[in-house]
């Protein structure tokens, strides 16, 4: 069997890989017609692909062909297992390939997250694309450039070092001879040579020589987003496709006792699927499927647990009571007991976090189609290969018979690691014998997706007689250990993260536990500064030798005009600051808030945030990420809270769950620091961690009232 690579020519817009499924209907004739002269490298690939799949991600000897295809028209296809969900990986990975190939970024067409086409690059999470996936893409592109240059040198019988590569053209200056990548791509020798492994030790272009990386690049398929042409996972349509709805329990832990499906079954066009724990309804129109679901749901009886479940009001007591204290190991420097005993002043405070939802604009969605025992699923989730394994395991079929495609999707923020809708769609499609689309409703997303964990964070700190911080004791219950340790210089430290018993399903979030840990740490640092009678900026700098954090903190403070504005704080107008580090990057923010004591409302007037994540690869996208983190961070700081009682969500709608809106946006000043001395780190998450504590600190500066929970209860500020 042969794999063929080809590229369209003369068509203006990039086609998302979501449309790739169209190939199933293509005959060879229509294929050639469709592609015209674009058919280029034809190689036997199946063996290499199968081999690569077995060995999994990050394999050192990934072949060049697994990463790059050259086409006759001069365009280049680059392949990545990463997912685009608004964080900017598509532009960045395209830049990475273009930079090392010495071509304009528009010449690279990036194919992402299609398990039949791309290497397994792991799940898209943890700001890892920049440090872990950009380098292999660059290595592949650099290997290809060297290889192509060598071919040209051999053809001309000259030294490879005498050749220059620019815009995909190799030039021998002395003789004026030129060859393009497209010319070379026609040779069988080049095609064969692409079977060689990527050279992981190849020299990459130094930051000072970057032409494409480091430039502002818009998302390559942006035009499809403004015209509506892009097909998100929930927009995929297949021939004969049905729309499916799934019966959900009325509360967590409820078990289906009985249901009468006859009414649903008698509805025209409706297919009812009942299989183990899945009761689903599929129909040619979503409206019909929903009607069938509602008719059946009315007849359902459920067994619910008698035991009272925790609510959003009792959750923190519950987590504290069930804390697995003593399990796991604390990270200790010095002796916390000695440090606290020696302190002249000791503070102890507890901070809390609510569960929050990610609320991506596109709820979970998937389309599944079975053809000749092969399953193809288009889904909105972060791990295409993980989804493929889950599907293969569920149906007891080899992974090679499952293809998962993740079209660029509508947001995730850590909330789409699980392929729930993909599994549901595949089960229903198998039972219905037709493709099925399952798209979660907003209420389903608010109820059955997982949440950012709630937490209790306990802090104790000790100051000596001179006001220096000498003891730091910090425990996070339930939310995890990201950014757990303090970046400040303290002689006696104990930090620990302990699990508990979460009544709600919980998982990743944008910067996950770092947000809560930094909120508690930076709020508590502010409390200690106040206890020491020192300006919060001076107090931090006095305990901070980390030069990177100092640098962003000083930049944010200077840009914001901290010292002067700190002096002019009034009971209605406060300023606050916070800083932090996580995932290899550093951040600091200064904010101004207006406090309405009559209404008990906090309004963020201004945010100045400085951020540094090494050499900036795409300043336009990084600015968007920092702006996005600032505004999203305001939601968790001020309003967002999942309310629940006895296993039921009380606010599963936009009417009841408050997210930031246009009216909430403050003046935002983003200061990007370009640090070219270190490798680039990801920038889509860490900018969120400084916002909540800076807001809380500003509220304290204005009112003297310390708000120790996320979200911060504005009502606590109310004065009548």
């Amino acid at each position: 069997m042969t794999d063929t690579t080809a590229i369209g020519n003369g068509l203006r817009r990039p086609m998302p890989s979501s449309d790739v499924g169209a190939e199933h209907e293509l005959t060879r004739r229509t294929f050639i017609q469709l592609l015209g002269t674009g058919l280029v490298i034809t190689v036997t690939q199946t063996g290499a692909l199968a081999q690569r799949r077995e060995r999994g991600a990050q394999r050192a000897d990934t072949t060049l062909l697994a990463r790059l295809y050259l086409n006759h028209d001069g365009t280049i296809a680059a392949l990545s297992g990463k997912v685009e969900e608004g964080q900017g990986a598509r532009a960045q990975l395209s830049q990475a390939a273009a930079e090392e190939l010495r071509v304009p970024v528009d010449q690279v067409c990036l194919i992402m997250a299609d398990t039949d086409q791309v290497p397994d690059d792991g799940i898209t999470a943890g700001s890892r694309t920049t440090p872990q996936n950009v380098p292999p893409m660059r290595q592949a592109a650099a290997t290809a450039r060297e290889l192509l240059t060598r071919f040209a040198a051999d053809r001309w019988q000259v030294e490879a070092s005498s050749l220059e590569v620019r815009d995909g053209t190799i030039t021998h200056a002395a003789t004026g001879r030129q060859l393009t990548y497209a010319d070379l791509a026609k040779s069988k020798e080049v095609a064969d040579a692409f079977q060689q492994p990527v050279d992981a030790d190849i020299a990459l272009t130094a930051v000072s020589g970057w032409r494409v990386l480091g430039s502002p690049v818009l998302r390559p398929n942006a035009i499809d987003l403004v015209t509506g042409a892009h097909r998100f996972p929930s927009d995929i349509v297949r021939p004969q496709m049905l729309y499916g709805r799934v019966l959900r329990p009325p509360a967590y832990g409820a078990k289906l006792e009985s249901i009468d499906l006859s009414a649903a079954r008698s509805m025209p066009g409706v297919v009812v699927v009942q299989e183990d724990d899945l009761v689903g309804f599929a129909a040619p129109a979503l409206f019909q499927a929903s009607a069938a679901l509602e008719a059946a749901a009315r007849t359902a009886t459920w067994t619910t647990s008698d035991a009272r479940q925790p609510s959003h009001q009792t959750i923190h007591a519950h987590l504290k009571e069930r804390a697995q204290t003593g399990r796991g190991r604390a990270d200790v420097r010095g002796s916390i007991e000695q440090g606290l005993a020696a302190a002249a002043t000791t503070l102890r405070e507890t901070y809390t976090l609510a569960y929050i939802q990610h609320v991506p604009m596109e709820p979970r969605a998937a389309v599944a189609e079975w053809t000749d025992d092969k399953l193809t699923v288009w889904a909105g989730c972060d791990g295409p290969f993980r989804a493929r394994s889950d599907l293969a395991r569920l149906f007891g079929i080899p992974a090679e018979r499952v293809r998962v495609i993740i079209p660029d999707m509508g947001g995730g923020f850590g909330g789409k690691h699980s392929p729930d809708a993909a599994l549901e769609a595949a089960r229903m499609a198998k039972a219905a014998g037709r493709p099925v689309c399952v798209r979660w409703t907003r209420a389903e997303e608010f109820t059955w997706a997982y949440f950012r964990p709630a937490a209790v964070i306990e802090c104790a700190g000790g100051l000596d007689a001179a006001g220096a911080l000498i003891a730091w004791d910090f425990t996070n219950i339930n939310a995890g250990g990201a950014a757990l340790d303090t970046p400040y210089d303290v002689p006696h430290v104990r930090v620990s993260s302990v699990g508990s018993d979460s009544p709600l399903s919980q998982g990743a979030y944008r910067c996950l536990a770092a947000t809560g840990n930094n909120f508690a740490r930076e709020s508590f640092m502010d409390e200690l500064a106040a206890a020491a009678g020192v300006d919060p900026l001076d107090f931090r700098l006095a305990h901070l030798t980390n030069q990177r954090i100092r640098s962003v903190l000083e930049q944010a403070a200077t840009q914001f005009g901290w010292s002067a504005r700190r002096r002019s704080v009034t009971p209605e107008l406060g300023v606050g600051l916070a800083c932090g580090t996580e995932k290899g990057s550093v951040v600091a923010a200064c904010v101004e808030v207006a406090v309405d004591r009559e209404r008990g409302e906090i309004r963020v007037n201004e945010v100045c945030e400085a951020f540094e994540c090494g050499p900036i690869q795409n300043p336009a996208n990084l600015t968007s990420q920092v702006q996005g983190c600032i505004v999203m961070g305001m939601g968790g700081a001020l309003w967002e809270e999942v309310q629940f009682e006895n296993g039921q969500m009380l606010n599963p709608s936009f009417a009841a769950y408050r997210v930031p809106r246009f009216r909430d946006i403050p003046r935002i000043d983003v200061q990007l620091v370009n640090n070219t001395e270190i490798p680039s780190a990801g920038g889509g998450e860490t900018p969120i961690i400084a916002i909540a504590p800076a807001i809380g600190n500003a509220v304290f500066a204005a009112t003297g009232i310390r708000l120790r929970s996320m979200p911060m209860p504005g009502g606590a500020l109310k004065q009548t």
């Binding site: 502002p216 991506p360 505004v631 009216r663």
Partner: protein, 177 residues
Amino acid sequence: MDVAVTLRVNGVARSVTTDPDRPLLDVLREEFQLTGTKHGCGEGRCGACTVLLDGHPTLSCVTAVSAAHDKTITTIEGLAEGETLHPVQEAFLEAGAMQCGYCTPGMILSAVALLREKPAPTDDEIVTAMNGHICRCNGYVKILSAIRLAAGGGEGEARLGGRGSCRAVIRTSNIEH
């Protein structure tokens, strides 16, 4: 009981026989394959499903298809004239005003309606017109810039890309040579 509904969508006369209460959103997406209009909440509170109904921004997820009978509808697919984008679409590209892009069609349509009514809106007028639209990537700042830009104020963002020249890479495993 199904009814016959006629609509003029993006300049084309369309008809559909369906339940009168079926959301306009579903009819556009499922019957006419106009999937540029998005489902975001189903409760009319996020703006992702916005279309222009006789020129007015309308939440298609809470609009019964029968309420659109004999009316003119513009969806995101109907905004460009051939290959020429609408100035608001251009402005969104110029400002780089999209991250995941799921809210983008609704944002653009509301901005188009706003600028038709008020060609030079103040920031406050823009915020008022757009406040019903949620962006969770929280690209509000650049969306605001894009609308100012479309209104003739402000500057875009110097940047590359966004209008890739290659259409597709199709790899097949079922073609014999």
